[in-house]
């Protein structure tokens, strides 16, 4: 066990944890954030995605001790109904999720893409999102939402 400082959603908190424990469990259990989700534990689906210094990262395979002083942002920290990230606003307007368990992956990855490039091409959007999983088959509306968010970003 080790004492580890984590900067999550703009707040630094200290936890006692096994250094090898994936960040996902620190976020969900030690810090009480109900997002992200456990999907595979293998970095194959994206349900656990968070931003680490702005990059979309799979928290299920990221040891909590590897985070260091990096800034972690979860879906809850990306935006709020009052101050949404454009991809969140677009997700609501396009009514994307069905079960909704996968959305951390899509939203955090798309947000990371759009933050770096406001007007990605269709191919760039798909390249950025490839490998993420949605079992309900909301692919069509995911792509509509990313394009809508891109349009909102001016």
């Amino acid at each position: 066990m080790a004492r580890i400082n984590l900067d999550v959603n703009g707040k630094v908190q200290t936890i006692d944890a096994d250094p090898d424990m994936p960040l996902l469990y620190a976020l969900r259990n030690d810090l009480g954030l109900n997002n992200p989700h456990f999907g595979c534990g293998l970095a194959q689906c994206g349900a656990c995605t968070v931003h680490v210094d702005g990059q979309a990262v799979r928290s299920c395979v990221t040891p909590v001790s590897a985070v260091g002083n990096s800034k972690v942002v979860t879906l809850a920290g990306l935006g709020t109904p009052e101050k949404p990230h454009p991809i969140q606003k677009a997700y609501v307007e396009e009514q994307v999720p069905q079960c909704g368990y996968c959305i951390n992956g899509w939203i955090m990855t798309a947000a990371s893409l759009l933050n770096q490039k406001k007007k990605p091409s269709d191919a760039e959007i798909k390249d950025a999102l490839t490998g993420l999983k949605c079992r309900c088959g909301t692919h069509m509306s995911i792509l509509r939402a990313v394009k809508r968010a891109s349009a909102m970003m001016g």
């Binding site: 994936p22 969900r28 989700h37 109904p81 079992r135 088959g137 692919h139």
Partner: protein, 767 residues
């Protein structure tokens, strides 16, 4: 406030309703009486009471309540699996009650507040569940108007209702609101219950529902209000439920299916805080105080398993196994016509084909999870199962306690497409919680979720058509042979239908079920039949046949609608022209024509013969019915002959499910069905070796990637307000595989008769 309220939100609402007097933590159940047992100052009479009548289907109060503020609570014994069912139910209830849509809150799948309407089941949310809620709401309106008539001293037929206020038709100042009439008290009104539970439960009152021409809310495109809470990380899934004192559980499954633990070395996990083993015959789990510790304990525990004989053939031998296996049950569809065997003897020509469909996994986004707390002999289970009322029964049976002692609360799970692993997780959590005397949260691992979930059954399908000398189809026979769709039942209501029960050695009671094509082809001699074979392993099997979205529909109609195309091609006819010659149902004809028109279908036989080179394109049609709903799909597909890669580029879907409640939700439901259908057709196949399933994650069990998303899904909705609504949760996945197969044939002249159409298989077929 979202309009879909579940356990986690329930407590927040309770606090609001009672002015903050209640202090409960999120996730704690609150008795309905706390929420609605208000307004005791009202005089009791025959129609309104302060004490809740029993939660039985013959009571109006079991479905509808008017709160003190005039808002309406609808208590629904089914639940939403992501298609926005609660929006449609809210629309139907608001419509009949003449209250604003936003005045209705739908509570779903909580055994303390709803009766067993069958859970999410067979796309019957609106067809059966909505029908009941509509009748209950209509009866509530009738009773409220009667109450207003007494209060206002006016005949009921001179009253109208506007936004929850009953008023004189000719004098709006003479009025009484629903809140004034009954708010905070319960209806004490008897319904005419048919004594059925589940999907077939029906309990109308005396009221007749509205004429569809008067609808103001039904038929409107209304968005889901649960999307924003999900997008802003404000909504809990069943995986997020936490209760005080909760520990974490993980299950252990054998590497060789059929093996049981013979020696478990608990000392191998003694260094992990709070780690304990729970062992009961073949049931083996661990718990620990912290989730990561439970995961480590499950990995670290030393277990010696029995030397089980590998129970399976290699998956390459699956279809030979099915062909040779003894038939356990055969059933011929009762719509058989003519004398098929005699007709085939007179045929000038016989067209025959056989099709194959693999086992497929639910492969939900998240492995199943459940939380069980046992306190003073009362059990509470938070579950993502789409049949929480059956989870209640299953837990009661496995713990040997009365059903009334178990409270099952449905909370959105990580996806649900039928009898998934959710029901197994609930049973496991109950047994772990009882064993350790603490609340337990159990979640499976990915390899358990994809490897050990109940599977959509594998099957073969034989079709043959007899053609006379003039080129007419004089006989048609279609027979499916496969594993049963109910090796385990559609719910976890009995211990023998859960992994826990099977590992613990309960007596098995497998069922036999499959199905026949649902269409209206008329041939003088026609026979549709199915045959089931025994499971490969009779208990605790990773290849248990069960319900997966549109149970056995995709496999049957892949075969039957591919075959219709084969016959059309053999007769050198356009595939739609051939279908329209034989399809007899007018609504079937209408969906086929609507899809063809929207897709700008050009009449010609398949295959097309005007393409050269490695990249070719084709179009295909397929159609089917499903419990009253009709769907026709035109697929437009690109094939790269050199790589074998299929791009399912465009779909045109004509959909008739009778009366449309919410066209917005319907379109999203159809899109999801098409995309999941493409995934199942192009990629999905459970593989196994002799010992176990080997497709256990997203690499070995791939699904459709975002880069493979169709360019367009055009949906044509055919609305029949005069026809009772049927389902939309599954029918449109049904014809997807055949539409793609037929498009591949159109493009290449090659018929692929085995799913999935993976690049290797397509390349091989085309070479």
């Amino acid at each position: 406030m979202t309009r879909q309220e579940k356990a986690a939100q329930f407590s927040r609402r309770a606090m609001l309703k009672t002015g903050g007097a209640l202090v409960v933590s999120i996730g704690m159940p609150v008795a309905l009486d706390t929420v609605l047992g208000l307004g005791r100052a009202f005089a009791q009479d025959a129609t309104a009471v302060a004490t809740k009548p029993p939660l039985m289907p013959d009571q109006l109060s079991s479905f509808i309540a008017v709160n003190a503020d005039g808002t309406v609570s609808a208590f629904f014994g089914k639940m939403d699996m992501g298609h926005g069912l609660f929006v449609a139910i809210g629309q139907m209830v608001a419509e009949e009650l003449d209250v604003p849509f936003k005045a209705v809150t739908v509570f779903m799948g909580d055994t303390a507040t709803s009766v067993n309407q069958g859970g999410a089941s067979g796309s019957t949310g609106i067809q059966f569940g909505g029908k009941q809620m509509r009748m209950a709401a209509a009866e509530a309106r009738r009773v409220l108007v009667e109450m207003a008539a007494t209060k206002l001293g006016l005949p009921a037929d001179q009253l109208a209702v506007t936004d929850g206020v009953v008023h004189a038709k000719n004098d709006a100042s003479k009025k009484a609101s629903y809140g004034e009439l009954i708010g905070g008290r319960y209806f004490n009104v008897q319904l005419d219950w048919n004594k059925q539970w589940g999907n077939t439960l029906y309990a109308p009152g005396k009221a007749k529902p509205k004429d569809p021409k008067d609808y103001k809310i039904v038929g409107q495109p209304i968005h889901r209000e649960d999307v924003a809470p999900k997008v802003y990380a404000q909504e809990d899934f069943c995986t997020d439920i936490k209760v005080p004192g909760m520990v974490h559980g993980r299950m252990l499954r054998p590497a060789v299916a059929g093996a049981v633990p013979v020696k478990v070395d608990e000392s191998s996990i003694k260094n992990i805080p709070g780690a304990r083993v729970v062992l009961d015959k073949g049931f083996l789990g661990v718990v620990a105080d912290k989730e990561w510790d439970a995961i480590k304990a499950a990995q670290q525990l030393k277990v010696e398993w029995s030397d089980a004989k590998p129970p399976f053939p290699e998956s390459a031998a699956l279809y030979d196994h099915i062909r040779k296996a003894p038939v356990r049950k055969r059933e011929v569809d009762n719509k058989q016509t003519g004398n098929v065997d005699e007709a085939f003897k007179t045929a000038a020509r016989v067209i025959e084909a056989e099709y194959e469909w693999p086992f497929q996994s639910h492969a939900c986004m998240g492995p199943a999870c459940a939380v069980v707390e046992i306190k003073d002999g009362n059990v509470t289970c938070w579950t993502g199962s789409q049949k929480s009322h059956f989870v209640q029964e299953g837990i009661a049976l496995s713990l040997g306690i009365p059903k009334e002692k178990v409270h099952a609360i449905w909370v959105t799970g990580p996806g649900s497409y039928g009898r998934s692993d959710a029901d197994d997780a609930a049973a496991d959590a109950a047994i772990l919680a009882k064993a350790v005397g603490k609340p337990v949260r159990v979640q499976y691992t990915r390899d358990q979720a994809t490897g050990w979930d109940p599977k959509g059954p594998a099957s073969i399908h034989r079709a043959r058509a007899a053609i006379d000398a003039a080129g007419n189809v004089i006989a048609y026979e279609f027979t499916s042979k496969g594993f049963s769709r109910i090796d385990v039942n559609t719910n976890g209501g009995k211990p023998w239908d859960t992994l826990a029960g099977q590992f613990m050695g309960v007596e098995l009671k497998p069922g036999d079920g499959f199905g026949v094509p649902a269409e209206s082809y008329q041939f003088a001699n026609k026979r549709l039949a199915w045959e089931t074979i025994p499971p490969l392993l009779d208990r605790a099997s990773p290849l248990r046949g069960a319900h997966l979205r549109d149970p056995v529909g995709p496999q049957i109609h892949f075969a039957s609608e591919s075959f219709m195309d084969e016959v059309a091609a053999a007769l050198n006819l356009d595939p739609i022209e051939f279908r329209l010659r034989h399809v007899k149902d007018p609504r079937d004809i209408a969906v086929i024509k609507a899809a063809a028109e929207k897709a700008a279908w050009q009449s010609r036989p398949s295959p097309r013969k005007d393409q050269a080179g490695s990249k070719v394109s084709g179009r295909g049609i397929a159609y089917s019915q499903r419990n009253g709903t009709r769907v026709a799909i035109v697929a437009e597909v690109d094939i790269d002959r050199s790589s074998g890669k299929i791009f399912a580029r465009k779909f045109t879907v004509a959909h008739d499910c009778g009366q449309i409640i919410n066209p917005d939700g319907l379109k999203y439901a159809i899109e999801g069905n098409i995309v999941q259908g493409v995934s199942r057709t192009l990629w999905e196949e459970v593989k196994f070796d002799g010992k176990n399933v080997t497709t256990v994650d997203w690499m070995t069990y791939p699904i459709l990637d975002i880069t493979e998303t169709p360019e367009a899904i055009d949906v044509v909705l055919i609305d029949h307000p005069e026809i009772a609504p049927t389902g939309a949760g599954e029918p449109s996945i049904r014809p997807v595989a055949a539409a793609i197969a037929n498009a591949i044939f159109d493009a290449t002249g090659v018929r692929i008769r085995r799913v999935p159409f993976s690049p290797d298989r397509v390349k091989q077929a085309l070479s």
